[in-house]
């Protein structure tokens, strides 16, 4: 496949002077550029200090095109699961209907844009909308032709019928003219009357042409015979019916007979007294010169092609199309007018050169929507030869990746892109990983949305990173609860430890816990880090104490120290917490438990003495600590005494 030499698109940046350099920075959806100078390091230079935000694609910001993206996304997802159980030859009707669904979405968008273009007062906006409409028109035109030729792949006979429909759909101004003519006082004398009749004939709409002719016949009773003859010729014009039992050969014979009959009528000058009818007769014979006289009515070379086929080669085979297409194009476009991209795209379609069609379209259209979806559909129809490339992705995937990457730059459309990436087996996953972590996490809700996408796809690194970002942000803003729950989600033990410490610090200074809901419902996630376990358990102690389950609370408190769950720095707080339990009338700590508490206290004071030896602490603080220890020792001793008595009493 030959590469077209494409000229790079030049975008002018205002206020960047010549002789300067242009610096840039990539963003997720745009590129920032600014004037700078790279050579003279340290040198001062006055210049523009503007930064320009350059965007690639404005289409995704159009609210109407957004509908196109949304709805085609549904069709796309449906297509990916089409008839996995259906044998491939039975899938064709499904593919054709999907193709039509895509086109109907294009049509709906076009309508909306058109209405908007008519209503808008702003001339610039109207032009822009008009441009979008004409692009969509072209897209639909190409898509429709591809549907006829590649997807439906109609055989000889039916092929022409499809092409006729295609031309009728896209050359619909006849109907507008008809309305105008019919609404006039005397339709048959309207200056557009014959244009309408001829246009109908050119599109093979014989019934409508006959109805129009009746009006003229009524006006000329003298020429009634002639009109009757034309009516007969038109009514007898054979059309192939794919659903009848008639074979193509039989049809061909009938058609030839009709053709000969028309020819006889022309030869014996049946219409010589009415130039219009004679002209129509010539058209029916497929007379080249007469057809070319209708250039204005035909409008395009491909209309000319279809009309010519209708009257000369109604049983044209798909393989012969390109020959007629080429010659019609040359005949229709005089040497002065150069063929335009649309012409060459259509010509390539008639030549069944699918790759050329896709390639030309992707060059001409700045939006990947069309090529991505069409190529995907054609690929599902098994119409693309495997184009395996050493860079990896095949054509379908390449285009889908481009399209989806574009969607990802949009603040809400990125969610559609996820499904497209999912259906790109080769690079879809990596692209999704790279793109999704760039989605701004403005709110917790948005973060949860992004997170769900990652979790559904087991993207563990992205899950971790998002949670970490959220945890860091929450911590910076002193929202400890949120920070803790995000770091639990991230399974980030180090961070959970850090936040737990902050919780405990807060408790030490304020005497209350914040975010009780969260801490009370930690469950198994408590095991993420030792400090977190301690935080959870310590809070549990407070709950038990509050509910007056003193012995349970006492047991838990003790185990926090003996099982080394509590950091030693916190032991004094724990022992102080034990004081009111020791002071209760009822004995709560047993003899053994009291011994253990005493052991803990001694261990703590011993290590504090050791620590104090190395770093000098202020005297006063020492005094407070000393009083606390004395108090504890006293309470412990008293508790031990009562516990011995009590336990002794029970024994006897």
């Amino acid at each position: 496949m030959e590469e077209l030499d494409v000229e790079a698109v030049v975008t002018e940046i205002p206020a960047v002077s010549t002789g300067k350099h242009m610096g840039f920075a990539w963003g997720p959806g745009d590129i920032l550029v600014y004037e700078t100078l790279y050579k003279a390091k340290g040198a001062s230079s006055s210049g523009s200090s503007l930064i320009h935000e350059v965007r690639k694609d404005e289409d995704i910001y159009s609210p109407i095109l957004r509908k196109l993206f949304n709805e085609s996304h549904h069709i796309f997802v449906g297509l990916q699961t089409v008839g996995e159980d259906v044998p491939s030859k039975n899938k064709k009707p499904q593919f054709v209907s999907i193709s039509k669904n895509y086109r109907s979405v294009i049509r709906a968008c076009m309508e909306e844009l058109q209405q908007l273009a008519v209503l808008t007062k702003d001339a610039e906006a109207a032009t822009r909308l008009g441009n979008q409409v004409s692009i969509l028109l072209a897209i639909e035109l190409i898509w429709n032709l591809c549907e006829v030729l590649f997807i439906d792949a109609a055989p000889a006979g039916s092929l022409l019928l499809h092409l006729l429909d295609w031309v009728r759909l896209h050359k619909a101004d006849v109907d507008e003219k008809t309305r105008e003519v019919l609404q006039s006082e005397s339709p048959a004398e309207h200056h557009n009357y014959w244009d309408v009749v001829v246009s109908y004939v050119l599109q093979g709409r014989v019934e409508e042409a006959r109805q129009m002719l009746v009006k003229q016949a009524n006006l000329h009773p003298a020429a009634r015979g002639m009109f009757k003859l034309m009516d007969k010729l038109l009514s007898k014009m054979p059309f192939y019916n794919p659903r009848s039992t008639q074979t193509l050969t039989e049809f061909d014979v009938i058609w030839r007979h009709w053709h000969e009959e028309v020819d006889r009528c022309l030869q014996d000058n049946s219409f010589s007294s009415n130039q219009h009818l004679e002209f129509i007769c010539k058209i029916l014979l497929g007379d080249e010169d007469s057809l070319l006289e209708c250039k204005d009515l035909l409008g395009t070379w491909y209309h000319f092609l279809v009309t010519r086929l209708l009257f000369c080669h109604p049983t044209v085979k798909p393989t012969d199309l390109h020959y007629y297409a080429q010659s019609c194009m040359t005949m229709f476009l005089d040497s002065r007018s150069v063929s335009e991209p649309l012409d060459s795209i259509l010509l390539a379609s008639f030549e069944f050169d699918i790759h050329q069609v896709i390639k030309d379209c992707s060059i001409v259209l700045n939006n990947w929507w069309f090529v991505a979806h069409l190529t995907d559909l054609l690929d599902h129809c098994k119409l693309l030869q495997s184009h395996n490339l050493h860079f990896g992705s095949n054509l379908r995937e390449f285009l889908l990746l481009e399209y989806a990457s574009g969607l990802f730059t949009h603040h809400s459309l990125w969610q559609l892109a996820v499904d497209y990436f999912d259906h790109c087996p080769e690079f879809g996953r990596v692209y999704l990983e790279l793109q999704i972590e760039r989605v701004p996490l403005e709110t917790e809700r948005k973060a949860l949305k992004v997170l769900r996408v990652c979790e559904e796809r087991q993207m563990s690194e992205q899950v971790r990173s998002i949670c970490k970002i959220m945890a860091t942000r929450a911590l910076r803003n002193n929202r400890l609860g949120s920070a803790l729950s995000w770091s639990i989600r991230a399974k980030d033990a180090a961070f959970a430890t850090l936040i737990s410490e902050r919780f405990l610090q807060d408790y030490s200074t304020r005497g209350t816990f914040s975010d009780l809901d969260l801490i009370d419902n930690l469950g198994p996630s408590m095991l993420l880090s030792n400090r977190l376990t301690f935080l959870g358990k310590y809070r549990e102690f407070h709950r038990l104490y509050g509910q007056k389950h003193f012995s349970k609370a006492a047991k838990l408190l003790l185990s926090l120290m003996t099982a080394k769950i509590a950091p030693q720095s916190f032991w004094m707080t724990l022992l102080t917490d034990a004081l009111p339990l020791l002071e209760q009338k009822e004995v709560i700590f047993s003899v053994d438990q009291t011994y253990e508490l005493m052991f803990c206290l001694e261990e703590l004071t011993f290590s504090q003495v050791a620590a104090a030896a190395s770093e000098k602490k202020p005297r006063q603080e020492d005094d407070v600590e000393q009083t606390k220890v004395e108090l504890l020792r006293l309470a412990l001793a008293r508790n031990l005494a009562t516990a011995i008595v009590k336990e002794g009493t029970v024994d006897t």
Binding site: E3, V6, A8, V9, V10, T11, E12, I13, P14, A15, T18, G19, M22, G23, A25, W26, G29, L32, T36, L37, Y38, K41, G42, A43, S48, S49, L50, I51, H52, E53, V54, E58, K100, N101, Q115, G130, V133, S134, L137, A138, L161, D165, K171, A172, D175, E176, G204, E207, E340, L342, D343, L365, L389, F391, S405, Q435, E442, S465, T472, R473
Partner: protein, 386 residues
């Protein structure tokens, strides 16, 4: 491509670098006026300067963001021979209301004896690490062991490259697949014959960075260098800004299990473009490495893209119009003219109808009674939704 908006940066001197944060919601700018500015994007897409402060006592060459996992952290490097780390602190609420943010200096890295030419954070999986390179030919790798305390940075590695360094780039792909790796470029004009791009790789055994490769074919001054995101490929792609734009593919050669030396690479040139006519100053990849941008002496930014056949082409040029700003923000390229005039014709046909009749009417009447079976599903779908 079109200019969506222009922002008055209001730097008193030349802007040297503009850097987007990870999510593209903030940007930082730095300038010869020795200051750094931070900008935040509002809901409607407008940029607001939320902080501006003097950062160095010389031109600030580069400014860069740490990954948001580490908070809101910036690093800058300057002609004043230092690099600095800045952290945003959550200020008083009335500051927030006025749309201002507070950045405080966490550390100044003063190890370089010459201008610090580039500063980059290492990939996030390595922790919070900052790398500088300087005109004295040394690459320094610093680490913040405690991410909650950014005032402590320890110099972990000092790698002498023997050539004055101008730029460096970390290989962004994860170390699970291969050792940590960075490339450093030199614009040394005193040494003419040697390779100006060196690749260094971390060795687990020696716990040091060792030179894995020198790109011997690049002998002219190198101004910028950029590894492409890996995309799970078995090879690495490196873009280089020198007297032209060059793309290299580094294919690791499988080494014997006993070997402990650095990975050897097969170096292949993928593309070489001299469209900038002379020196190229910057190269940089977009997120998925499907586009490479370069800036050169022709005053243009050029965009390079590989098609699905892996052919690299210039697909876009951003070019100064050389005139002062006239108020117009630039026009989107006229795509319809590209398609051809026949489409214009059909559009005229469309324009001829009133909004009321519209395409729906056109469409339905286009069905001749003979073949109405063909297109019925079209239109049905879209009208049913109304």
């Amino acid at each position: 491509m079109f200019v969506a908006r222009s922002i008055t940066a209001d730097h008193k001197d030349l802007i040297h670098d503009v850097s987007y944060d990870f999510h593209g919601r903030r940007m930082a700018t730095c300038s010869s006026d020795q200051s750094v500015k931070v900008w935040d994007k509002s809901e409607n897409g407008d940029w607001h300067c939320t902080a501006s402060w003097k950062t160095h006592s010389g031109s600030v060459w580069r400014v860069t963001w740490a990954h948001p996992e580490f908070g809101q952290v910036l690093a800058s490097c300057s002609f004043d021979r230092t690099a600095a780390v800045w952290e945003e602190i959550v200020g008083e609420s009335n500051d927030k209301q006025r749309g201002l943010s507070h950045w405080i200096k966490r550390t100044t890295l003063v190890d370089s004896r010459t201008s610090v030419t580039d500063v980059k954070f290492a990939p996030k999986h390595m922790g919070l690490m900052l790398t500088t390179c300087s005109a004295d030919g040394v690459v320094r790798i610093y680490e913040a062991p405690d991410v909650m305390n950014l005032s402590q940075w320890s110099l972990q590695h000092e790698i002498s490259c023997k050539l004055s360094c101008s730029c460096l780039s970390w290989n962004p792909s994860s170390s699970r697949v291969h050792p940590s790796m960075f490339a450093v470029g030199s614009d040394d004009i005193n040494v003419t014959c040697s390779g100006k791009v060196q690749i260094y790789e971390y060795n687990e055994n020696t716990r040091k960075y060792a030179k894995a490769e020198t790109l011997m074919t690049v002998t002219d001054a190198v101004h910028d260098i950029a590894f492409a995101p890996n995309l799970g490929r078995s090879f690495h792609i490196l873009a280089i800004a020198t007297k032209d734009v060059r793309l290299f593919k580094l294919v690791p050669i499988r080494k014997e299990s006993t070997s402990t030396g650095p990975t050897k690479f097969e170096v292949q040139i993928v593309a070489q473009f001299d469209n900038h006519n002379s020196q190229v100053w910057r190269v940089s990849w977009n997120i998925t490495s499907t586009l490479l941008a370069s800036s050169g002496d022709d005053g243009c930014v050029r965009l390079w893209k590989a098609n699905y056949m892996d052919n690299w082409k210039c697909t876009g040029i951003l070019k100064g119009d050389g005139s002062p700003l006239t108020g117009s923000s630039g026009q989107p390229t006229a795509m319809s003219t590209v398609l051809g005039s026949s489409i214009q014709t059909s559009q005229n046909a469309l324009n001829g109808i009133s909004a009321g009749s519209s395409l729906k009417a056109l469409y339905i009447s286009a069905h001749s009674p003979n073949h109405s079976h063909i297109h019925t599903p079209v239109g049905q779908d879209c009208h049913a939704r109304r």
